[in-house]
């Protein structure tokens, strides 16, 4: 027999040991399956949560991008107050203003359980572009008390097209019955799935503020935005001239919204970390337990390999490669499942956990964006866990006398 006892160079040695570690993945099936499942249990919630958080951020930024240059509301004695319709013309007349869209926002209680819902009154031709009616039609311009509802809200209240909304609201002019004429959903963003759109007039009736609006969405000519905002803030009143107390304009620019958004999203993203922290807390003992799966057999194997000339370092490298592959498989599987879950299943089941108010099968497109950072972070964290568990047990087996390890 030839003398094959001589070593073939460090790179070859590492490659051969790494290959042996890779094949150990299929040798230790039970341990492979249990470890991969643990990695998925830790990484999947994090990847899904971060994916939705990133999607929300992108959605909101897009909404602000597509929104008006200025939002105008009014304050009386420093508190929000309704704005007379006459203010629309005042703002529209300012130099540099290209359009002014009024909006009435009212809150109301609906259904037998008195669920609160937001009613938004807008001119029919200035509905947000994504409000495409899924079922039924839009509210007619002149017909009062016609409602178009977000899918999830309709589902929660058990309402469908044609249903009358019974003791909907009551005011001085008596009890009004409204009718659902349309339901929108699929493709609409998250916030819209929870609201009711109706005409300005209906919304005014509901809010019991006849001929008043809540806010104005102002679009300006390029470069006029700051000047218009300045002029609005300088106006003594947006109410009828001479009448006290004055109605001061409060102006929110697009930049203000970006700043506000950044702060809000930070809070929300902290919330998204929670499931991960939980999974992590459960994951640590789980991974440590799985590093014990098939331990007796792997211990015997380590003893045998030591007996046929493997060094402790070679055994550790082998188990490191095996562990790295396990976490890589688990993380890839998590990303794959997350992708299918978010893209094909639209976050079914998990959306309501992360997005309060969403239905189990959300009626809106669940926003998501898969970024590399969460997957890499999950890989790093689970690698540390798996390495810690397997390195320890491999070290123990490899440093024991082989005859003892093999028993």
């Amino acid at each position: 027999m030839r003398n094959v006892g001589a070593s073939r160079g460090a790179l070859r040695v590492v490659a051969a040991i790494a290959r042996s570690g890779a094949s150990a993945v299929s040798l230790h099936r039970l341990r492979t399956v249990s470890t991969v499942l643990c990695v998925v249990a830790i990484v999947l919630p994090y990847v899904v949560g971060s994916g939705i958080a990133a999607g929300l951020r992108a959605d909101m930024v897009a909404a602000v991008d597509a929104g008006p240059d200025l939002h105008v509301t009014t304050l009386r004695f420093g508190r929000p107050a309704p704005m007379p319709e006459s203010a629309i013309a005042v703002v529209a007349d300012l130099p540099g203003v290209t359009s002014v869209v009024p909006r009435v926002v009212a809150e109301t209680q609906l259904g037998t359980r008195g669920e609160s819902a937001v009613v938004v009154g807008v001119p029919r031709d200035s509905l947000p572009a994504h409000v495409s009616v899924m079922d039924g039609r839009l509210f007619a311009p002149n017909a009062p008390n016609e409602l178009v509802m977000g899918h999830d809200l309709a589902a929660r209240l058990g309402l469908k097209v044609g249903d009358a909304v019974p003791p909907f609201y009551r005011n001085e002019s008596g009890e009004r019955v409204s009718r659902v004429v349309g339901v929108f959903g699929a493709g609409a963003p998250l916030w819209a799935s929870q609201v009711i759109f109706t005409s300005i007039e209906t919304a005014q009736t509901i809010s019991a503020e006849e001929s008043a609006v809540t806010s104005l969405l102002v679009t300006c000519q390029p470069n006029y935005r700051d000047a218009v905002a300045e002029r609005l803030r300088a106006l003594p009143t947006l109410g009828p001239p001479g009448i006290r107390p004055a109605l001061r304009a409060r102006v929110t620019t697009r930049d203000d919204l970006y700043a506000l958004l950044a702060r809000r999203l930070l809070d929300r993203e902290t919330l998204f970390q929670l499931p991960f922290i939980l999974a992590f807390a459960i994951g640590i003992p789980l991974v440590l337990v799985t590093s014990g799966v098939g331990l007796a057999e792997r211990r015997r194997e380590a003893g045998l390999l030591r007996a046929v000339g493997w060094s402790v370092d070679a055994l550790l490298l082998r188990s490191l490669v095996e562990g790295a592959l396990l976490t890589l498989i688990g993380t890839s599987l998590s990303v794959l499942i997350a992708f299918v879950w978010l893209d094909l299943a639209n976050g079914a089941g998990i959306a309501p956990v992360l997005l309060p108010g969403a239905a189990r099968m959300p009626g809106f497109r669940v926003p998501w964006q898969m970024l590399p950072i969460p997957a890499l972070l999950g890989l790093a964290v689970t690698s540390v866990l798996v390495f810690a568990g397997s390195t320890w047990s491999t070290w123990r087996a490899a440093t024991a006398p082989p005859a003892e390890a093999m028993r």
Binding site: G5, S7, E301, A314
Partner: protein, 228 residues
Amino acid sequence: MTAQTGLSVEAREVRREFAVRDGTAVAAVAGVSLSVAAGAFVAVRGRSGSGKTTLLALLAGLDHPTSGSVLLDGVDLARVSRAERTRRLRPTGIVFQNGAAVPRLPVWENVSIGLVPLGVPMAERRQLAEAALETVALQHVVARRPEALSAGERQRAALARALLHSPRLLFADEPTSNLDPESAEIVCDVLAGAHASGATLVVASHDERMLARAARVVEMREGRLVSE
């Protein structure tokens, strides 16, 4: 086969105790001194439970004596670092009594697994393993899993593994115990061949064929050597 020089091994007052459940200790090897010169062929016989397997594991550096010392090529294994011990033990080989193998790993890979940390490429390992398996008449099980082998086949595969890197000191623990006369003869021939090419050989056995070939036979009884 290329001729080579064997390694000597020596046990000095070696004792190995095992703790048993009731808190007492059994001495599987109770003070053995044995000097095996380079190139020698020593057979160890003795009743079941007399301590042969334990002694071989101690001589092969796979177990640590409770007291006493084992010298490989004149060097006390307890006095060198773990890495140094691994390096010094590399030119030795052992055939385990039960033919221990890595479960589910194909026979040829099991036979050549000791070459992995030397960086020997896969194709070459397979070639070497096939050749080694052929010398023990196992060419037909090359790609099988060890679970699918009989006890005797497993033992012979273990012999092929031990021979693969041309050891200078070879231990074999009852290598013919599960074999028919014909297969036992093959194993005896292979071991004798290794000895003829220069390897030192220590065999635990009851097999008369094996004992007849050994230059020296020692007997163990209750952990001690009783005769030479």
